[in-house]
């Protein structure tokens, strides 16, 4: 099974989400800086199955990250946007499908569903 990458500027969220992923038997990597995450995705040989990315981050928002990262990772990688606001409030993500949007606070069941 491929890697799960978690990108959120809040370190605690990265920790807990990683804990959750690992509790579900998967391997994960966390990044608080989206640029570093992009760089990782560019150079890793490992297959990345799922990417959880926060929408509202300084320097680069989640939607921009997905646009950039999906060119690297290809279509097999599933991207999920995490946000504390309603989808309609986040500009330019209204194009993304409803399924790729995760409303914070996250539940374990929802995370599990994203990983399967």
């Amino acid at each position: 099974m491929g890697l799960v990458v978690i990108i959120d500027d809040e370190e605690l969220i990265c920790e807990e989400l990683l804990d959750c992923v690992e509790a579900l038997g998967r391997c994960g990597r966390t990044f608080t800086n989206p640029h570093l995450a992009l760089a990782f995705l560019n150079q890793t040989n490992k297959a990345v199955d799922v990417v959880f990315v926060d929408v509202m981050m300084p320097e680069m928002n989640g939607d921009t990250f997905i646009s950039n990262a999906s060119e690297v990772t290809g279509k097999k990688t599933r991207y999920y946007l995490m946000s504390g606001v309603r989808k309609s409030e986040v500009y330019s993500i209204s194009d993304r499908s409803e399924n790729s949007f995760l409303q914070k606070p996250l539940s374990l069941a929802r995370v599990k569903k994203c990983l399967t």
Binding site: E16, M56, P58
Partner: protein, 831 residues
């Protein structure tokens, strides 16, 4: 200015100008003028005593005049001359050697002159005041009674003085002319006597000089009468040759000599003998011919009165000319040199009269007669007149002062009557004497005034009643305070608005009831006509907000109490007309609140995001714990860490909610307090923390060392900072994250707190700079922003007596504020 009245009696008018200068310009000018004018006396009279006398006259009068009591001037001048006159008399007598009659004249003249001058000075002064020339005079120094007194006195002195001086002058001229007319006649009479004497002497000396021994006289009998000299003309060409003999014998020899020479023309000569006249005449075909003597002198017993007989001395050639006698003439001979006083010149003058003796005697009789007796007697007359004038002036002055005091007493009486009438409103009829028309006229006038007052009073009452009803019932709030700010009037509209009836409010301090918004430097509403706003907590506990300004109505004391009686002590009242601004104030407060909500709305995404972070951590921590526990044993430290995390994040969420709540729920009704602006700036930055972080905006906060407090509502102040930061974040949206910097600089200047918040955005369009604080103005587009953020910020800052403005710097837009410092805790050192 000198007027020579007659032979040396000079009237000087220089001191008139000194008195005018004194009255109009003050003592310093007066003294300068008197010194200048008195210097002329040295030139005029050749001594400095008059200078001293005139200057001391001025000083004496000026000193005793007292403060502004011009009415004393004439009396003091008179007193001065009554004191100084005798002293001057003695000074002139002993130091100048002037004779007593002359002294009498001089002293009396100077006293009269002094009084005339002060009267003239006062006349000119009062004329200037009456004609209202643009001069500045001391208040309360001019007396109308004094003016009347001077007119009265001048009416006596000037006509009388002019009349007397005119008469004196005329009399003097007549006297002199009379002497001039009398002299020839007197001399001609003497001439007749002289002819007789000459005839007698001629016969006598013919007899004496004849060879008729029978008729000869014993010369020894005439020893005492020997001729002193005999003069004759002996030259046939007509030239004068004097030969004289020292005694009768020599004279006889001389005559014989003449005879022997054979001179033919009948000539006469007169020889001089003491008290006798010697003559000689042709004696038919006498043995001798005698020639006329060209010159003779008679020596009389008096030096001054001399009578001389002259033959004509016009020797023009030709014997016949010799007999032409001079025309009769009478002249006054007087020494008019500069170093001789006029009086002395007249006293030493003489009338010289020339008259022919007789046709038979071609000789001229010259009479010299001194004028001294006439002048002396005239001087005595002048003295008498001058002294009389002085006494008449003195009586006139006394009379004028008496009339003056009577006039003043009358005036005061009338003033008192009118004053009593104005005070009491009634007229004391017994105080008037109807026998006098002035009294009866005044009584009638006062009655008319009383009647008109009473009508006016009634009219006033009607107007005042109407006015009182108007301000009581008007829908406009009206109230009045006294100078101390105590409420004295509170109309029905205010009663209705505030819930406080009249009796609860009257007598209370206005400031105890109302919270006044002190702006524009107004600290005492009674001292300003500017508009001010104030709030009152109604009886029901709500707040109403009003604006008011003072009206021009003052001192309607009698209108203001419910009983219609004057207010206590007739105090001055300040009326204020108010306008209910509660709706507008509430609307403004609502707008402030809405703008805060709008600000919160703009922050809603970041707020939601910020709140969801800790919630997310809580939910994930709990979920992870549950998952691990459901799968098997979980180490206790793992569970402990999760529990702790959950606790921390819950508190964090609570803190976020608290801050937002605090910001959201602040009310414009919150109390105004003193607060640290720097601390609340930082609170506002904290509130915006998540938004700033998400937008990658760095905040550079700089502040002066020291602690100052400003006055206002702290949450509203935070709202201003939040609004400005929101705008800055929006402005820098398109800027690279690295360059998104927001600087907040706090400094102090001239007891004001200065805050500048700048961004690194594109700046504000120049044409928008003046509009950005207008309500509903936005540069963000229709769906972004409400356009009231900066408007509300301006409203809030203005309410704190501050200013806010915007400008562009090199790096971006700057919003600047200046708010007065209310208290300095520790001295800021500027920045």
């Amino acid at each position: 200015m000198n007027v020579d009245m007659f032979f040396g009696v000079n009237f000087l008018f220089g001191s008139v100008f000194a008195w005018i200068a004194f009255l109009l310009l003050g003592p310093a000018w007066g003294i300068s003028a008197i010194i200048l004018s008195s210097l002329y006396t040295i030139q005029l009279w050749g001594h400095g005593y008059a200078l001293i006398i005139f200057i001391s006259e001025f000083i004496f009068v000026a000193i005793f005049q007292g403060h502004k009591k011009n009415w004393r001037l004439v009396a003091l001048t008179l007193i001065y001359w009554l004191i100084v006159g005798p002293i001057a008399f003695l000074v002139y007598k002993f130091f100048l050697g002037v004779s007593s009659p002359t002294l009498e004249l001089i002293v009396a003249k100077q006293a009269v002159n002094g009084i005339i001058n002060v009267c003239l000075g006062l006349l000119v002064y009062y004329a200037i005041l009456t004609l209202k020339f643009p001069v500045t005079v001391n208040k309360n120094s001019a007396y109308f009674s004094n003016f009347m007194q001077i007119i009265f006195l001048s009416g006596i002195i000037f006509p009388l003085g002019l009349y007397e001086f005119y008469n004196l002058n005329r009399l003097f001229s007549e006297t002199i002319q009379q002497r001039l007319d009398q002299e020839p006649h007197r001399l001609s009479k003497q001439g007749e006597n002289i002819v007789s004497i000459l005839d007698l002497e001629t016969n006598h000396w013919e007899l004496m000089l004849s060879n008729n021994t029978d008729a000869s006289l014993n010369l020894q009998d005439y020893e005492g009468f020997n001729p002193i000299a005999v003069y004759l003309i002996s030259d046939e060409t007509g030239s004068l040759q004097l030969e004289y003999g020292e005694n009768i014998h020599n004279a006889r020899n001389l005559i014989n000599t003449i005879q022997l020479r054979g001179l033919n023309s009948p000539k006469y000569f007169v020889g001089c003998v003491e008290n006798l006249y010697l003559t000689a005449s042709k004696q038919g075909e006498a043995r001798y011919f005698l020639w006329p003597s060209p010159y003779n002198n008679f020596i009389s017993g008096s030096e001054r009165n001399a009578l001389s007989i002259n033959c004509s001395t016009d020797w023009t050639g030709g014997s016949s000319n010799f007999w032409e006698t001079k025309s009769n003439s009478t002249d006054i001979i007087r020494d008019t040199s500069n170093n001789v006083s006029e009086l002395k010149s007249w006293l030493d003058s003489s009338i010289v009269t020339l008259t022919s003796v007789d046709a038979a005697y071609p000789t001229i009789l010259e009479g010299t007669n001194t004028l001294r007796p006439s002048i002396t007697s005239f001087q005595k007359l002048t003295n008498k007149i001058m002294v009389n004038l002085f006494f008449i002036m003195t009586l006139g002055i006394l009379l004028s002062y008496t009339l003056n005091f009577i006039l003043i007493a009358r005036w005061n009486r009338v003033s008192k009557l009118v004053g009593n009438f104005l005070q009491a409103g009634s007229i004391d009829a017994t105080a008037f004497n109807p026998a006098f028309k002035e009294d009866s006229d005044l009584f009638v006038s006062l009655q008319r005034v009383a009647s008109s007052f009473s009508n006016e009073e009634s009219a006033r009452k009607i107007v005042s009643d109407g006015f009182q009803k108007l301000i009581e019932d008007t829908l406009t709030p009206v109230f009045a305070t006294n100078d101390k700010g105590t409420i004295r009037f509170w109309n029905k509209t205010l009663e209705k608005l505030t819930g406080y009836p009249n009796e609860d409010v009257i007598g209370r301090s206005f400031q105890s009831l109302a919270s006044i918004n002190i702006s524009h430097g107004i600290t005492d509403i009674t001292e300003s006509n500017l508009e001010f706003t104030f709030s009152i907590k109604t009886k029901a506990g709500k707040y109403i907000h009003l604006s008011a300004h003072q009206t021009i109505l003052k001192d309607f004391s009698m209108l203001l109490t419910t009983e219609g009686e004057p207010t206590e002590d007739g105090e001055l009242l300040h009326f204020f007309v108010a306008q209910d601004q509660t709706e507008a104030t509430n609307a403004r407060a609502h707008m402030v609140h809405m703008s805060r909500m709008a600000a919160l709305g703009e922050m809603s995404s970041s707020i939601a995001h910020e709140l969801n972070q800790p919630l997310n951590v809580i939910s994930m921590s709990a979920g992870n714990g549950i998952e691990r526990m459901s799968k098997g044993t979980v180490p206790s430290d793992y569970l402990l860490a999760k529990m702790r995390r959950i606790e921390q994040q819950a508190l964090r969420a609570g803190e976020i909610i608290h801050n937002i709540r605090e910001f959201a729920l602040a009310s414009p009704e919150d109390d105004i307090e003193m607060f640290d602006p720097v601390e609340h700036c930082k609170s506002a930055v904290d509130l915006m923390g998540e938004q700033l972080r998400l937008d990658s905006v760095k905040v550079d906060f700089s502040c002066f060392p020291g602690l100052v407090l400003i006055e206002g509502r702290p949450v509203l102040f935070e709202q201003v900072i939040v609004n400005i930061l929101n705008n800055a974040i929006q402005a820098m949206k398109e800027i690279q994250p690295t360059y998104k910097i927001c600087k907040i600089a706090c400094s102090s200047q001239d007891n004001n707190l200065c805050i500048e918040i700048s961004d690194t955005g594109p700046g504000i369009n120049v044409q928008d700079l003046s509009k950005i604080f207008d309500p509903f103005f936005s540069t963000k587009g229709d769906h972004i922003g409400t356009g009231i953020g900066l408007y509300m910020s301006k409203t809030i800052v203005n309410a704190m007596n501050g200013d806010i403005w915007a400008y562009n710097s090199e790096t971006g837009a700057v919003i600047a504020m200046r708010i007065p410092i209310a208290e300095i805790i520790s001295e800021p050192s500027g920045q």
